[in-house]
């Protein structure tokens, strides 16, 4: 493993949306460092700014205060160097392209060869178990299948930094387990840095080297938990006491961020 070099460094980051009836403080005073090769999960109640933070990293939203660097550059420079793979919360497939052409989209843009494209389409669609649906159009697929296609699209090219916004939200447990495992393998193999939003505590604990717990109004980081689980993680690690201890800490952090407790 290379020495921990900061990929993302956020300092006193803040973002305020102006809406018709006042301001929304989506992020405030966020300090966070993510190092190369880390797998960082973001967890927190809905509306706490997880998506917004990922969007700031990817240069899709401009912070209104504080600073953020990506690979030592501004997010914009990093984006222009195609440092990101991004999986959005909604699938966002292009309705005029078949599934395979959707997966091919970033590859075409990044100038991969025809052959390479074909090869990668096959590989990634296989990974998300969508073989046989290459020629279907998005609206002919179920919600979960669409989401898997959008994951395939982000995995098809080699971005060093993978940002995933609830990629497995619409999937069943089995597929989710399967994809969790695949993702871990991919991560181990490629040494990507991954930013991952999820609502599932076990998923966060199972996947991450670092778990960022957030809380809303204004969106801020309330806890950063470094996981000491080994890098090799069989699925049944989820029953281990270490695992459950981390999960409990995350749950407590989460609960603290909620207004209602019964």
């Amino acid at each position: 493993m290379t020495a921990a070099m900061p990929v993302i460094e956020a300092k006193k980051l803040g973002l305020t949306f102006e809406t018709g009836d006042g301001q929304v403080h989506a992020l405030s005073n966020v300090d966070l460092t993510i190092n190369t090769g880390e797998f960082v999960s973001f967890i927190g109640p809905s509306g706490c700014g997880k998506t917004t933070f990922l969007r700031v990293i990817a240069d899709l939203e401009q912070p209104t205060s504080g600073t953020i660097t990506v690979n030592g550059m501004t997010p914009q420079q990093a984006r222009e160097q195609r440092a990101y793979g991004y999986v959005f919360q909604a699938a966002g497939l292009f309705p005029w392209r078949t599934i395979e052409r959707n997966v091919a989209l970033p590859l075409e843009i990044m100038g991969y060869s025809k052959q390479e494209i074909a090869e990668r389409i096959g590989r990634t669609l296989d990974l998300v178990n969508l073989k046989g649906f290459e020629k279907k159009y998005p609206w002919q697929l179920s919600g979960g299948m669409q989401q898997r296609a959008s994951i395939a699209r982000a995995l098809a090219f080699d971005a060093d930094l993978l940002l995933m916004d609830e990629p497995f939200g619409a999937l069943d447990e089995i597929v989710r387990d399967h994809l969790n495992e695949q993702l871990l393998k991919l991560w181990a193999r490629t040494e990507k840095t991954i930013g991952f939003v999820t609502h599932s505590i076990p998923e966060a604990v199972y996947l991450s080297t670092k778990i960022v717990v957030m809380s809303p109004r204004p969106g801020r980081v309330t806890d950063v938990i470094e996981s000491d689980l080994p890098r090799e993680r069989p699925l049944d690690i989820r029953e281990s006491p270490e695992f459950l201890a981390i999960a409990a800490r995350v749950r407590d952090g989460l609960r603290a961020g909620h207004s209602y407790e019964d």
């Binding site: 984006r79 292009f94 843009i109």
Partner: protein, 370 residues
Amino acid sequence: MSFLLRNWQSSLVLALVVMSMAFLPIISSGGVGSAFLIVLLIVAGAVGAMVLKDRIAILVLLFGAAHGAVWLLIGALSGKTGEATTSFYLLLAASWLLAWRLVTVLSSIKPKGRGVDVFLRLFIPLLFGAWLLILWEAIVRGAGIPFVLLPPPSAVAARFSNSLPILAADVNQTIFKAVLFGYVVGCGTGFLAAILADRFVFMRRGLLPIGNLVSALPIIGVAPIMVMWFGFDWQSKAAVVIIMTFFPMLVNTVTGLAAAGHMERDLMRTYASGYWQTLAKLRLPAAMPFIFNALKINSTLALIGAIVAEFFGTPVVGMGFRISTEVGRMNVDMVWAEIAVAALAGSVFYGVIALAERAVTFWHPSIRGG
């Protein structure tokens, strides 16, 4: 009661027939003989459509009754132009309602096979159009409207078939020269201008307001000027068509280019996709429904533009030339023959574009069926 409402056409038909009895005969100088047969046909159709169960039987009956009745009605007019009575018009309305019922029943068919579907797609509008002509014929002849104001379709058809070479020459001059050239260039430049305006903010801010101003030029004023500049042959007409088609294309394309969703654009941003790539892969496909909207609007505008421009100075051939000249000669049937050609050509033109639209924007909810 609901039984009467579900088929309100039949109920109304029966009411009309009863009313028409009070105003017999149907032709002021004629007897009531043929009227009897007509009433019989209409009543049979109306009642049949209410009581019969088999759809095919209903269709056949309605078709026969409506067309048989109207055929007899128009036949009764021969040599008695202008002598139609109230009774005539009531029976005419009744047969038309039967035809409407026919169309309603036909439209409710959910075709299984592709052949049936295509047939219905063509047959229903044709039936509707045929009835427009039938009503026109019956009313013009029934009321004795002067020939120079509005000729009956039968006269137009006769003139049409006698003047095919002239019509062909006019179509060649107006459509194959002026319209096609102007349409392609006008739509093309409108599209390019939209891209330009989209690409360079400076252009958009400068060009769009001026473009709006210039391209909304009333073509009537432009046409004589174009004739001055480009001569009296088809080139000046093409210039008018270019000016007319430019604006809709520009506006629609600019709107369409803004139609791509936010998330999709963000996605392209994360790929650091360049302007042209985003354009080609996201924004143009998303703009296609709008672009086709412009292509469709323009297909009709182009035809009108070219024809109207020919009112201002042309060689002695062309659809617009013919129309304006033959009005002056009181050959109103020839005028309508040209209009029929224009309508036919325009519909074909539009139809081709609509087919292309279906093929290109197959993914749009409005095509997938919403």
